[in-house]
């Protein structure tokens, strides 16, 4: 199998997923959603999970987030076993999930407060939240409520909330899926900048091939469910900073793109072939 195509002797491992499987009990017996998931994510690495809908990529991300517990296998975050959700993983939800009764600043503060309030005073916490909002270019809307800003802005605040906790890892579940194409492109570019400045380790779920190739160091391609697993891992060796316009004609980029499309539409377009 091509799982772990790049065996790591590196000590900079941030996340290790070993033999993880997920079985959901249903009325018609157990449903195997994921099996034999083995994956390592290095510090500062940007990994995307891609696959057809229903392949369990979001399930895998939720497992790492601790929102669900795996049926088998173990997961380590910086050599410590994951047993549940925690602020060491910043989660960016697809629908932003900002609390509508709190201002942008208060939404971020809620997260900051949870992580740093033991050692820092009110002013420092506020400083952190403002810095996070500044990082995503939302300083102008600090006092606004989520319903007063656009979808793209909400997602920025969601990213700020996750980053402000200084998590070991950023988990993003199709963060730009609900945005229009132009907004999505702009946010992708900004995400690349933010990741470059913060050195964040990112695991992101997407179903957008271009997004995956543009952003990733590695693309984890998943087979179709049920009993989905990692089919292939594609290393994307494009130099950074990556510029969208220039990449469109880059031969490597086109090649990587083709490989993902081949995987998704030629080899794993049907469940029968994947099994």
């Amino acid at each position: 199998m091509l799982v772990n195509a790049t065996p790591s002797i590196n000590t900079r491992r941030t996340l290790q997923i070993e033999d993880v499987g997920m079985v959901f009990p249903t009325k018609r017996g157990p449903f195997v959603a994921l099996r034999d998931i083995n994956l390592e994510v290095l510090r500062g690495e940007f990994v995307t999970l891609i696959g057809h809908s229903g392949c369990g990529k979001s399930t895998l991300l939720n497992l790492v987030a601790g929102l669900t517990t795996p049926s088998s296998g173990i997961m380590l975050l910086q050599e410590r076993e994951l047993t549940g959700p925690g602020p060491d993983r910043g989660v960016v939800f697809q629908n932003h999930s900002l609390l509508p009764w709190l201002s942008c600043l208060d939404n971020v503060l809620l997260a900051v407060d949870r992580v740093f309030s033991e050692n820092e005073g009110k002013a420092q916490l506020r400083e952190r939240a403002l810095a996070a909002l500044d990082l995503v270019g939302m300083s102008h809307a600090v006092a606004k409520r989520p319903h007063e800003i656009s979808g793209g802005m909400k997602q920025r605040v969601g990213i700020a909330r996750a980053l402000a906790m200084e998590p070991k890892m950023l988990l993003m579940d199709e963060p730009f899926g609900a945005l229009d194409a132009l907004t999505r492109a702009r946010l992708q570019d900004e995400l690349m900048k933010i990741v470059a400045t913060t050195g964040a380790t990112v695991m992101m779920v997407t179903h957008d091939v271009d997004e995956a190739v543009l952003l990733s160091d590695r693309i984890v391609m998943m087979t179709n469910g049920p009993a989905a697993t990692i089919g292939e891992v594609l290393r994307v060796d494009l130099p950074r900073p990556r510029v969208r316009v220039a990449l469109a004609e880059n031969r490597d980029y086109v090649q990587y793109r083709k490989e993902v499309i081949d995987f998704l539409y030629m080899r794993h377009s049907h469940v029968e072939k994947a099994a």
Binding site: G66, L67, P87, S97, R114
Partner: protein, 298 residues
């Protein structure tokens, strides 16, 4: 079973049947209905007329039918006679000639006090109870059947229990208000808690917020609109119940007053009381709607 109970649409949805009535009265009474227009735009007389004239027409129609029907009746007062009685009644609303003869103002205030007490206690018990039922399936399953059985019981059936336990009329009336107005708050709060979006709870989980923070920052604001609908329904119920309860328990209060005037065969006063009770109920509803609007985050 619990779900079936908690999804009873009558209690959950804001009462649609009162909406048109409310609209009509807002236009007729609320001075905000004729706001100062922008200086250059001509005043929209037609729009104002279209909103003000129909409600006035409705009232005029009622009075006309009433006047026609009572033309030859000796026992039922005409609109004019009722109006005269009302003018006399409201000219001195706060007189007091002993416990059985007090002004209509006092009667209303005493009733409001009972409603306030009974309803306040019901809120104090019902809202936390709703939170518990909504958050913990065990309690939901335990209490839902009981609520289903007790909810449809008429207020008057509770009164003897109150009289027995409290040995006095006034606490018994308050108890009746309490037990009848508690259910909408319990049920709506519970439904609100169950409908807190999963996303918000996931945020709480990934941030590992404390139970206190979850309650104050996520559950409470999220449940607030449901809770306030429950409160509104409860106040409405309480105001309905008070008249019946006071008729039986006596004392000073609008319900007792209606019964007293019936014994005096003063039908004009009964009609006035009906309008007064309606108006007070409407005011209660408005004030709670105003509160609810402040907590609407959508």
């Amino acid at each position: 079973m619990g779900r079936a109970l908690l999804d009873t649409p009558r209690d959950v949805a804001p009462p649609a049947d009162t909406a048109p009535v409310r609209r009509v009265s807002v236009v007729a009474v609320d001075p905000a209905a004729k706001p100062a227009p922008a200086p250059r735009e001509p005043f929209d007389w037609r729009g104002l007329g279209a909103r003000v004239l129909p409600p006035l027409g409705g009232v005029a129609l009622l009075i006309a039918v009433w006047a026609l029907a009572t033309q030859k009746s000796a026992s039922f007062p005409t609109p004019l006679a009722t109006f005269d009685a009302a003018v006399k009644l409201f000219s001195d609303p706060f007189y007091s000639n002993g416990p059985n003869d007090q002004g209509i103002g006092w009667n209303i205030l005493f009733s409001l006090q009972r409603v306030g007490l009974g309803f306040g206690l019901a809120a104090l018990v019902g809202i936390p109870l709703g939170f518990i039922i909504g958050r913990f399936t065990l309690f939901n399953r335990m209490l839902s059947p009981l609520i289903s059985v007790l909810k449809p019981v008429s207020p008057l059936a509770w009164l003897p229990i109150g009289l027995l336990v409290f040995k006095s009329a006034n606490p018994a009336a308050i108890w009746t208000i309490f037990i009848c107005s508690i259910w909408p708050m319990v049920i709506n709060t519970a439904v609100g808690v169950q409908k807190v979006p999963e996303d918000y709870l996931n945020v709480a989980r990934v941030l590992k917020l404390s139970e206190w923070k979850i309650a104050t920052r996520i559950l409470l604001p999220s449940v607030m609109p449901y809770m306030l609908t429950g409160v509104r329904l409860s106040v409405g119920t309480a105001w309905l119940v008070i008249v019946a309860a006071e008729m039986l328990t006596g004392g000073v209060g609008i319900g007792f007053w209606v019964w007293d005037e019936w014994n005096n065969l003063n039908v004009a006063h009964i009609i006035i009381a009906i309008f007064v009770i309606g108006a007070v109920g409407l005011l209660l509803e408005w004030s709670l709607l105003a509160v609810a609007r402040r907590f609407d985050y959508s």
